[in-house]
């Protein structure tokens, strides 16, 4: 049988709760309700799920979705080998069998005909038909499905079907409030709070520009990058330009404004 232990989160991940999401998630899990986490990129969605898996002491299987993914990539397929064919479970099937939390990251990236395979797992049936193998799996009682997506990709071509959306309970994440975000930077990168506060301020300048030529502001993840660079000895202004500004925009006016914000924030 599959080694359960390899999917466990052994070390407590650092996760700073933004509100009562931990308790709410526990409630959803105890009823085995499917969960969707929405939010802009790099705001802590994956970290939250990892933390919950640790806290609930359940295995976690993460799948990063992409456009080329087919249903077989989730469910499993027959492989040819010297002795003929052999069935190999896909990550979703494995999770259903062993009772893991299956986290489909960036589900909107997958094609819609792929997404529908999760439907039977998400209602009262809690089953997964393996059509090719002619098997119907009843999900393990510990199994739970979690998907994440970023509604900020401003394209209606990348949106979930209503019939998919309406099978999930949902958490809406956003970047943490300033003080909390500074605390996260401090913990993650080991920098002092004053510096973290300054970084967060620059993040907020960019977030204010959302819709004015920026599709997304600066993520917590990028702020952690900047903090890490500074911690490693890079000068603050250079680290900010490199980790916060250059990655998010090619628009000269916005770049100039953010560079100025850096100059105005660090003396």
């Amino acid at each position: 049988m599959t080694n359960l232990d390899q999917y466990k989160v052994h070390q407590q991940p650092f996760y700073q709760a933004q509100g009562d999401e931990v308790a709410l998630y526990e409630a959803a899990y105890s009823a085995r309700l499917p969960v969707m986490v929405k939010g802009p990129t790099g705001c802590g969605k994956s970290r939250f799920i990892e933390y919950m898996a640790w806290k609930l002491n359940k295995p976690l299987i993460t799948v990063a979705c992409n456009e080329d993914m087919t249903a077989s990539d989730l469910v499993g397929r027959y492989l040819l080998d010297a002795n003929g064919t052999r069935w190999l479970d896909g990550p979703l099937t494995t999770a259903a069998r062993i009772g893991a939390i299956c986290y489909l990251d960036e589900i909107v990236e997958a094609r819609q005909d792929t997404t529908v395979v999760i439907h039977p797992l998400t209602d009262h049936r809690r089953t997964l038909p393996l059509d090719k193998k002619g098997e119907l799996i009843a999900a393990h009682p510990d199994f739970q499905l979690v998907i994440s997506y970023n509604p900020g990709y401003q394209s209606l071509m990348k949106d979930l079907k209503q019939s998919t959306k309406q099978r999930f309970t949902a958490f809406e994440f956003d970047y943490p409030a300033a003080e909390m975000e500074a605390g996260i930077l401090g913990k993650e990168a080991g920098i002092e709070l004053g510096l973290a506060t300054q970084l967060v301020k620059i993040g907020q300048v960019a977030r204010n520009l959302k819709g004015h030529g920026l599709d997304e502001g600066i993520s917590t993840r990028l702020l952690v990058y900047a903090a890490t660079l500074i911690k490693g000895g890079v000068a603050a202004k250079a680290a900010c330009r490199m980790a916060l500004v250059r990655p998010i925009t090619d628009d000269a006016d916005i770049r100039d404004t953010l560079d100025h914000a850096i100059d105005a924030t660090f003396v």
Partner: protein
């Protein structure tokens, strides 16, 4: 001039008077005064040259004016451009005198001091004289066959305008501007005069072209981003011209933020800012000067509250303004410490001992010292009053934000404690006390006396007379009442009608105007156009074997490796399956001029929608266009412009051409009504684009939140119907509400002039 008795010339000045040796009584009257001034500025040798050249001008035979003006102005010129310039002035005046252009001598001499103040060097002054001479030669004409030559019409006007021109142009720019006028108006004396008097439109246009520095018009977006990003604030910028307006410093009011139309890079002779010592220079770029001015304004807008001015004396008011300026800058620097460097560079440095508080009114000077000291702790002022107030100020700021009212108290006590006899003197000390990036603080004061009480009475609500709107019977829609958290059923009546028609050719003309843009868009559209069949590779099951992959798999298999089972491919019909509804806000406010554009918002929307219509037609997506406005909940108009079954043809264009704006914006009802058409489209995706310039509002809805909440509710309903709504907002203040309604599905177009380009681009990227 009337001279009653000959002015006396003191014995001391007698030798100079004799050296001058002219008989004009008018000259005698001013001689002593002029000479005393000249002695303060010139060397002994310079004085002799001054007098000799003056004598020459007096004996030139062009009357008394040249010598009078020369005596008055020449010392200043020498001060800025060296004593050799005394001779240069005379020579140039003589040149004019010999030609038919003697009429230009006086204007030349009258402005040359101001000119030299701008140019600041003998070389540049020489260049100025050279270019004036060139202009004279280019514009002085002789008519063929006659011996007579005609004076240059341009020259006197040119001299009159020269100081103003040099305020904003480099010398090179001035030369280009003058050359242009000389070349194009050589045969037309009246037009030439107009040009050189800065009265004709092209004269101003060339001036704009030649000016140097950072222009506001070129940087509006950047500054807008600055305001939004760093201050979460924003308003239209309105430029004023340093050259043609009286206004010297920025200000803001309900119409917007006024800033100079150009800022030069500022080269400071010291690394720490104006007037201070130290090696090296510091350059503050024009764009940073704008940012400094905006930071100051934004700080006022965030932290200042107006106070009643009536019981506060002018001195006290000046002190309040200084203190409030200081306070908000301290708060701004707390937020963005890097601002200190910028403010310090731009803030003048009052020189402590330069002003004699017993002879001159020194209040300004004292206040400016306080202001400087609060920026620059190392400034080292010794003045007891100044040091005391600075210490007190710092204590206040250490405690928190303080307030405008506390500044009023502080200012009144400061004025009382530092009062001096000479404060009331008309001789006010101004040097290094004017902080020109700061606004004029008009926002700080409320004057009760002049108040217009009439405005206090509520105007009776005016429901505009509705004209008869022939069309279908109304449809009723609910409206969301957020306070009750419930719908008001059948609350709104929507009347649908056909939009009136105009001239379709107008729209074709608009499209032609944007031909270049259309060409660019076409390239992108071609890429987006649905190709009928798309091959999908790497399929386990499919309609055809993918030979490449199959062979690779077979080789893997034969060699004992794990073969890839995805050896098939299939085909998919890549039909774009999107239906679009473009919903246009046609409320009254669209008739306003767009900031930074000669066109109204309506005209720009019309252009934008025409281009969008053209683009969507090219793609073949089904689309509809409708406009809406409202006049209370009983009368929401929904104007049909294009339906899904209609082609993008002349009848549609004719309706677009007649687009007109009036009444208010009850957005939710219009969205619901539009949705009921869009919903019926059999496509996979449904997109509703809402183009608006403001927040939902109507005259029967006093609570601004209500219609916002209703629109948000409408977005939710649409989402449930599988309709993706997306707002294109033209309101610079939209940050305050647009995300509340549309979540993440919006764009704010700051520079409305770009709308025609932005709208189709946005559509393309949304549906890519």
């Amino acid at each position: 001039m009337l001279v009653s008795e000959p002015a006396t010339i003191s014995a001391e000045l007698q030798p100079y008077w004799e050296r001058l040796n002219v008989g004009f009584p008018q000259v005698r009257a001013v001689f002593a005064e002029c000479l005393t001034e000249a002695q303060a500025l010139l060397s002994e040798e310079g004085i002799n040259s001054y007098i000799d050249n003056a004598r020459f001008l007096g004996k030139m035979g062009r009357g008394v004016e040249p010598i009078l003006v020369y005596l008055e102005e020449a010392p200043t010129v020498a001060q800025h451009a060296g004593e050799h310039s005394l001779l240069m002035l005379k020579d140039f005046a003589y040149l004019l005198s010999k030609s038919t252009n003697f009429g230009a001598i006086v204007p030349f001499l009258q402005t040359v001091a101001a000119v030299s103040r701008r140019l600041h060097s003998q070389e540049l002054l020489q260049q100025y004289l050279d270019l004036s001479r060139q202009l004279m030669e280019d514009t002085t004409s002789s008519v063929h066959g006659h011996h007579k030559t005609f004076a240059s019409p341009a020259l006197p006007e040119f001299f009159k305008q020269a100081p103003k021109l040099l305020e904003i142009l480099s010398l090179q720019g001035l030369k280009n501007w003058a050359d242009y006028g000389a070349r194009y108006y050589n045969d037309h004396p009246e037009r030439q005069i107009e040009y050189f008097a800065l009265q004709s439109a092209d004269s101003k246009a060339v001036l704009q072209r030649e000016r140097h520095g950072t222009l506001l018009v070129d940087n509006e977006r950047k500054l807008d981003l600055y305001m939004h990003g760093l201050w979460q604030d924003g308003d239209p910028f309105i430029p004023y011209s340093v050259a043609f307006d009286e206004l010297r410093v920025p200000y803001f009011n309900a119409e917007g933020i006024r800033l100079p139309d150009v800022y030069d890079d500022l080269q400071l002779p010291s690394p720490t800012g104006r007037g201070a010592g130290g090696e090296g220079t510091l350059v503050i770029s024009g764009i940073d000067r704008y940012r400094a001015a905006l930071a100051h304004i934004a700080a006022h807008r965030r932290w200042s509250k107006p106070v009643i001015a009536d019981n506060i004396s002018p001195f006290q008011r000046m002190a309040v303004e200084f203190f409030e300026d200081i306070r908000v800058e301290q708060l701004a620097m707390k937020l963005y410490p890097g601002l200190r460097k910028l403010f310090m560079a731009l803030h003048p440095i009052p020189i402590e001992d330069a002003c004699d508080p017993d002879q001159q009114s020194a209040v300004r000077h004292r206040l400016a010292m306080v202001s400087r000291a609060m920026l620059d702790p190392a400034c080292g002022y010794r003045n007891k009053d100044v040091c005391e107030i600075v210490a007190r100020f710092q204590r206040i700021m250490a405690e928190g934000e303080s307030s405008t009212l506390e500044m009023v108290d502080l200012a009144i006590s400061f004025i009382a404690r530092t009062r001096r006899q000479a404060d009331l003197s008309a001789n006010v000390y101004f040097d290094n006390t004017e902080v020109d990036y700061r606004d004029d603080n008009r926002h700080l004061w409320i004057f009760i006396e002049e108040g217009d009480e009439e405005e206090a009475f509520d105007k009776p609500e005016q429901v505009e007379q509705k004209e008869v709107f022939s069309g279908l019977p109304p449809r009723h829609y609910p409206e969301w009442d957020y306070s009750a958290q419930n719908y008001r059923p059948d609350w709104v009546s929507v009347y649908e009608g056909l939009h009136p028609s105009g001239n379709a050719a107008d729209i074709d003309r608009l499209l032609e105007k944007h031909a270049a843009l259309a060409k660019r868009l076409k390239k992108i559209l071609d890429l987006l156009k649905p190709q009928d069949k798309v091959r999908i590779r790497y399929q386990e099951e499919g309609s055809e074997l993918d030979l490449d992959v199959a062979i690779r798999s077979l080789i893997d298999y034969k060699s004992g490796a794990q073969p890839d089972p995805r050896i098939n491919m299939s085909h998919r019909n890549d039909g774009r399956s999107i239906a679009v509804m473009v919903l246009l806000d046609l409320s009254e406010s669209l008739n306003e001029k767009a900031a930074g554009s000669p066109q109204t918002i309506l005209e720009l929307s019309q252009e934008a929608v025409s281009l969008l219509g053209w683009a969507v037609e090219k793609l073949g997506d089904p689309f509809a266009i409708a406009g809406f406005h409202s006049n209370t909940r009983h009368d929401v108009r929904y104007l049909h412009i294009k339906g899904y079954s209609e082609k993008w043809d002349d009848s549609v264009k004719a309706r677009l051409a007649a687009m007109d704006a009036s009444f208010s914006t009850r957005m939710g009802a219009a969205m619901r009504h539009a949705a009921h058409y869009l919903e019926q489209q059999p496509t996979d995706k449904k997109l509703m684009l809402i183009l608006t310039d403001g927040q939902p509002a109507d005259i029967d809805s006093k609570d601004g939140e209500l219609l916002i909440a209703d629109a948000r509710q409408a977005v939710k309903e649409l989402d449930r119907q599988g309709i993706y709504s997306y707002c294109i907002n033209l309101d610079p203040k939209a940050d305050e509400y647009v995300a509340d309604i549309f979540g993440r599905q919006y764009t704010i177009i700051d520079n409305i002039a770009q709308l025609p380009q932005k709208l189709p681009e946005l559509f393309i990227s949304l549906t890519k």
